[in-house]
Amino acid sequence: MAEMKVEQIAVFLENKSGRLAEIADVLAANNINIRALAVADTADFGILRLIVNDTARAVQALRTAGFTVTKASVVAVEVADRPGGLAEVLKVVSGAWLNVEYMYAFVEKSGQNAAIIFRFDEPNKAISILQQAGFKILTNEEVCRL
């Protein structure tokens, strides 16, 4: 069975200007494509969350450049790119009492559908509930191919 969970990289960001651009430069110099990206920040620091086409190489490159990096498993759920698409997923998530640490969205290149990235406490349980509700879970490979 294909791996349903998607590998995500998180990078620690001090709130200093230019650090995001440096990360983008490091990835570009290593020929790594960014598939999805979201920044979460507080008054003092930020966390950049990234999905890329080659996680292992990206982690290596960012560490070498002096960044603090960690990996986490997230779940990518496909939603129809039309009004109400997101609401349908969230209804299932909240109905099943799934604990969401955070989420962010990205749009597939084809423009047909969007994907929502979820960081669940219990990703395996979340995957089976969402699949039973008829949602398509994107595999790591599928996300990387997008």
């Binding site: 620091f45 990096v69 960690t70």
Partner: protein, 433 residues
């Protein structure tokens, strides 16, 4: 092994009698013979006859490094130079060095105390002592050398430097005890790794490390890399040299001060008032037996605390905690004394947090604020904000427990705290006072 059972296990009551007799003799001697001491005592309105109990020591004026410099080179000596058989000098990072002298009896006392210290650290007669402390004006090399000889061990007087040769000699001579600064010990470990020398092939079993501050983390590292027990030794040339206090191999927890020769006090570095047993403050020493260069209430600028609890090794001397700070680094924030070492202590107690930090002090209106910047290592980093915020709150709470005031915690990227000459600058004080 206890080298000198009589003194090292003497009941406190008897020890205090010895201390008082020696203190009275010392005060009389320096008052009679050393003009700068006499002038200071006269200014403080205290005469040798006023010292009737040990507690009277607080009537005596302090001696500082500045006093020693002002009387450079021999102005504080108590005996004529013809009775002085050796001098040492401490490196002066600023200004002139301080020069210290020893009579023949002082050299003998020092050897006795250093033999005690080595025995306390687990060194025995049949040991091969690899003495990598520098020989020369620095007290480390010769001080340790005489003590190891007195103990009856075999001494390799190799001094510092040329690490490859040191390792060849360790292999060929079968060194069992390494005397060095902890940073040089780590350097030797790295050189060993470069040379492909397996530490298990060496006979090292004990390392006596001192002459610079080092942390418990460093102890673990050096013990692992060199396959030995790392023991802390303390001393300073103004008081004698190495062998003022020494950790015992049994407890490896706090250094026993040889109190029959050195009288320790802990004072508040601001007010100069003695602090109760157990509180952290500046360490002050009075040498009770030295002849050529005794000191009265010498302010070491080292921050530590003393423990009176009995020790498993059987010695009755108080113990001093590892020195982790200097009064030069002390900050006064909203009237509270704060030492960077206290902050470091908190950080090192939290798993995964590296002791890379910086303290930034600002004044906002009339209020001092302290921000502690902590580098985020991968061990504590998380993709979830709540985890990092919990870490910040925990550091904040533990610092508040220790120093009683709230500071702001700022998590920063690794290596973002500026390092100069390999050492981090710990404090940035932006207050304009």
């Amino acid at each position: 092994m206890i080298w000198n059972e009589q003194y090292e296990t003497m009941p406190r009551e008897d020890l205090e009698k010895v201390q008082l007799r020696r203190l009275q003799d010392l005060v009389a001697r320096v008052y009679a013979r050393v003009a700068p001491y006499r002038a200071k005592m006269d200014a403080a309105g205290v005469r040798p006859g006023d010292i009737k109990t040990l507690a009277d020591i607080k009537k005596l004026p302090f001696t500082t490094k500045e006093d020693l410099r002002a009387n450079y080179p021999f102005g504080m000596f108590t005996v004529p130079l013809e009775q002085v058989v050796r001098v040492h000098a401490s490196s002066g990072t600023t200004g002139k060095p301080t020069v210290v002298g020893y009579t023949r009896r002082d050299i003998d006392t020092w050897a006795e105390l250093m033999a005690r210290a080595l025995a306390c650290g687990g060194v025995q007669r049949d040991d091969m002592v690899h003495n990598a402390y520098g020989y020369g004006l620095f007290t480390g090399g010769l001080g340790a050398h005489y003590g190891a000889e007195k103990l009856g061990a075999t001494v390799i007087p190799i001094s510092g430097g040329n690490s490859r040769r040191q390792i060849l000699i360790m292999q060929d001579f079968g060194s069992t005890v390494l005397l060095a600064t902890p940073s040089y010990a780590l350097n030797l470990a790295d050189t060993m790794a470069d040379m492909g020398v397996d530490v298990a092939s060496l006979k090292l079993r004990v390392g006596i490390f001192g002459a610079e501050p080092w942390s418990e983390n460093m102890r673990e590292e050096v013990e692992k890399k060199l396959g030995l027990k790392a023991i802390d030794i303390y001393g300073l040339s103004e008081v004698m040299g190495p062998g003022v206090s020494m950790e015992c191999i049994e407890a490896q927890h706090g250094m026993h001060i040889f109190e029959d020769h050195f009288y320790p006090e802990i004072i508040d570095p601001e007010s100069g008032e003695p602090l109760p047993m157990g509180e952290a403050g500046e360490l002050v020493f009075t040498t009770l037996t030295k002849e050529a260069f005794p000191v009265l209430r010498y302010r070491t600028k080292d921050i530590t605390r003393l423990w009176a609890e009995p020790c498993v090794c059987g010695r009755n001397f108080v113990r001093m905690e590892k020195v982790t700070g200097r009064t030069d680094d002390m900050l006064i924030i909203r009237g509270v004394n704060v030492f960077p070492s206290q902050i470091e202590h908190v950080l090192m107690g939290i798993k995964g947090v590296e002791p890379h930090y910086q303290i930034v002090v600002n004044r906002e209106g009339a209020l001092d604020t302290m921000e502690v910047q902590v580098e985020v290592s991968e061990q504590v980093f998380s993709d979830e904000i709540k985890t990092l915020e919990a870490l910040s709150r925990r550091i904040q709470a533990e610092i508040k427990d220790l120093i009683g005031s709230t500071c702001k915690i700022k998590l920063v990227e690794p290596k973002s705290i500026q390092r100069s000459e390999g050492k981090a600058k710990r404090v940035i004080d932006n207050r304009k006072i």
